[in-house]
Amino acid sequence: MFNSNKKPDYVAGNKIIYLNRGLNINIKGKAKKAYFDDIEIKNYAVQPGNFRGVVPIPKVVVENGDIVKSGDLLFFDKKRPELKFVAPVSGKVIAIRRGSRRSIKQVVIEADEKISYKSFNSPDLNSIDRETLVDFLLEAGLWPLIRQRPYDFVPDKDIVPQNIFISTFDTAPLAADMNFVIEGREKDFQKGLDVLNKLTSGKVFLGLDANKDSAPSDAFTKAKGVEKTYFRGPHPSGNVGIQIHHTAPIKAEDKVWILGVQEVLTIGAMFENNIYDARRVIAITGDEVIDAKYLKTYMGADVSDTVKVCIKNIKCRVISGNVLAGETKMFGEYLNAFDSQVTIIKEGDDYVPFGWLISQKKTPTFWKAFLDQWFSFGKEMDVDTNTNGQKRAFVATGIYEKVLPMDIYPVHLMKAILAGDIEQMEGLGINELAEEDLALCEFICPSKQEFQAILRDGHRIMIEQA
């Protein structure tokens, strides 16, 4: 409930930033630190929609029935042909599915028992210049693993990023523990950082977790050639956007890059082993999961194979990502490329008599207007997808700032977006925000406004304008 600002010992001489605003949502279904061994995932997909700024209909170079190795080219962007997307696993291409307006939705591969890899010829990092390195990353299909802020685009190859940011912890509800994910792959991580160091004119910033009693993994604390900053505070302190805001804010024309820990591993593995290694460790979490644990798999795993084994109840929602910013996945859909978590929770489609007056659910809340909230002291709560009320105009003020540890006025920004006032949007900091950063505002909103959808709309307007 409160956040003591005592500096943990392991921070030692490093920089630490205390964030007091935010909210930890404590729900049931945390993943145990063990692996599922009974889940076998057959199919994997690369989904162009996961990569922002890629044309909706990229040029697919494989056909149904083609045999590919991990690292083989699947499709490339028509506008930026240098943007290549490769297979995360080896096997047979079994489907090229299209979505609305003939866009390519998924390129599906049925994986081999044993993954075989295309062998690459990774250059020597010590002697390489930036341009050759960029060309190699593009060729090897590693480039789309990098996201460029603002707007989380696949980066432009000609723009040198101001800085590169990696958050090494996730504070979202039930998030995967990166210290566990990275176990045994410390070398790949360091190699990945070395590669990234070659790509920026500034620094590579690593955001580390200072909330726990024990120090983060050595891979993070002993990482070399990076600027380490510890963060202590509730969610969203693990969001990379928040960390950027407090270490080196994005300025007018600046572009920065962000990467997830597992993407760094894939890049590192390429330079260590000369293969495209899309291994992922995914936390399968949520109250509806029988015995929540981690799963070793590859990028773009089939969600239905995952849930077949472990769900309690068929009436549930499967989310790629966390409950705040993830995406609903139906049967036969695939995990998003950048997610390292699946959350499965109850659907809440039932009527609750006088639910607004007499609280009958023990679901998480920000508000002190519930008696049990005064005595909840970090207890794990139930959760379901009911909206708990209907949508209304913005009424409450001053609450949203309490869950957004940034120098930003969220409601004013939302209103500027709704009014389509571009100058105001820019001035209020739309370029510093990602949807996940506003997720908590949306969660606590008593008017049930959809902050993330509004922000998405705002980003769209800004992009069209540019």
Partner: protein, 418 residues
């Protein structure tokens, strides 16, 4: 509960054919049942238990102590005028009965007229009814004199809801506090109904020695019969107002005589606990404080506004004490909280999130200025006996401007750093 749900589903009117009926049905249905809507999946998958219904209801709950005491005090003031049952607890059944006879019609008219307009506009917009009027409707009876003619009340509420809120787009879009708009309408359109000494004592045609109370069927017919069964004291139409009773509020007395004259009529504990004439819900400070703390501690009202308003009142009261050239200026600054509607205003009116400033810094300025301007009107302006209504509406008008300056500065800072 399942049967009620079934029944509701059975009588659900057609939304397109009968929009007014549908919006009424929907508001009652969502009152009984939180709908089964689930998150759409384009944003968060889970949402907080809190919604606007609960948020608004908490303000109403915070006002309940003031309502209970208001009912009693209407009766108590009535009997003080008659010189009967002058002890607070004496004749409690009569006081409560008289209070209910006066307050209930006001409450019913407020809700029927106010919610009626809300239904009309909700059905026009094809949306569910908004909960904003829950709070406004609970506040309006509390800031009216007990003898307010009901037709005036009805016009005032129509003005406040239609022109004060719905033309701006409904709850969340209004500029001025709806409850205070209703009051200011009465204040300027029908000043006799809400000013002077006489309006605060209910049940008489005029306040003068020898005048008998207006008892109707409810007093002598209904309640007297009931009290007869229990053998309790009964209403007697033969009572009359005692000599020397004026019904003047502490503020009216202080205007000419200063604080000394006030304390000759009312003790400070009378004024604190609220057994004095005034608007229905404004008099009892401890009970208002109780409700006020509820909404401050649950985070529904912003404490910044209340605290800064208290600072504003205290500071300007203190400066007036130093100055001290008129009787009102000599009221010790801390006693300004004992009289008039200051406490009700700064806990429940100023903190309305829609009409207040929406930035943290703005809230400090907004609250402080309400305190200062309210005191200026109360102490210096001879035309208006009390200042909070005007001060809050005035600062409501300026809240967007305050925010504008703060946001512009914020924007400039961001663009400059770029």
């Amino acid at each position: 509960m399942k049967r009620i749900l079934k029944y509701f589903k059975k009588i659900e009117p057609d939304k397109l054919k009968k929009p007014l009926l549908f919006s009424m049905w929907e508001s009652f249905f969502t009152f009984f049942f939180v709908p089964k809507d689930t998150t759409s999946g384009i944003g968060t998958h889970i949402k907080d238990r809190m919604d606007l219904k609960r948020l608004m209801t908490f303000v109403v709950i915070g006002l309940i102590p003031a309502y209970i005491f208001g009912i009693y005090n209407i009766g108590h003031q009535h009997f003080l005028a008659l010189g009967q049952f002058t002890d607070l607890s004496a004749g409690w059944n009569l006081k409560i009965a008289h209070g209910i006879i006066k307050l209930l019609p006001i409450f019913v008219v407020t809700m029927v007229i106010g919610l009626g307009w809300e239904f009309v506009f909700a059905s026009k917009k094809g949306e569910g009814i908004e909960e904003g009027f829950l709070v406004s409707g609970a506040l309006i009876p509390l800031i009216m004199p007990p003898d307010i003619p009901l037709w005036i009340l009805a016009i005032a509420i129509t003005f406040a809801v239609v022109l004060g809120k719905e033309v701006f787009g409904g709850t969340g879009m209004n500029i001025w506090n709806v409850a205070l708009l209703a009051r200011i309408f009465v204040f300027f359109a029908y000043p006799l109904a809400i000013s002077g000494d006489e309006v605060w004592i209910s049940g008489f045609d005029k306040i003068a020695a020898g005048v008998s109370p207006n008892y109707g069927w409810f007093h002598t017919g209904l309640f007297n019969t009931i009290f007869d069964w229990f053998g309790w004291a009964k209403f007697d139409p033969g009572w009359s107002i005692v000599d020397g009773f004026t019904g003047a509020t502490p503020l009216a007395i202080a205007k000419d005589g200063g604080w000394d004259a006030v304390t000759q009529v009312y003790s400070t504990s009378d004024m604190l606990w609220g057994t004095i004439p005034g608007s229905i819900g404004e008099t009892s400070k401890p009970l208002l404080l109780l409700g006020g703390l509820l909404i401050l501690l649950t985070g529904i009202a912003d404490w910044r506004i209340t605290i800064s308003a208290i600072i504003g009142i205290a500071l300007s009261g203190f400066i007036f004490n130093m100055w001290g050239i008129t009787p009102l200026m000599t009221i010790p600054w801390y006693y300004h909280f004992y009289i008039g509607g200051a406490v009700l205003a700064i806990f429940f009116m100023a903190t309305d999130p829609v009409t207040a400033s929406s930035t943290f810094r703005g809230k400090w300025i907004y609250g402080f200025m309400i305190g200062v301007i309210g005191m200026l009107i109360r102490v210096i302006n001879p035309a208006y006996p009390e200042g909070w209504m005007l001060a809050i509406l005035f600062m409501n008008s300026f809240a967007p401007l305050i925010d504008h300056f703060i946001i512009s500065k914020h924007i400039k800072k961001r663009l400059k750093s770029e």
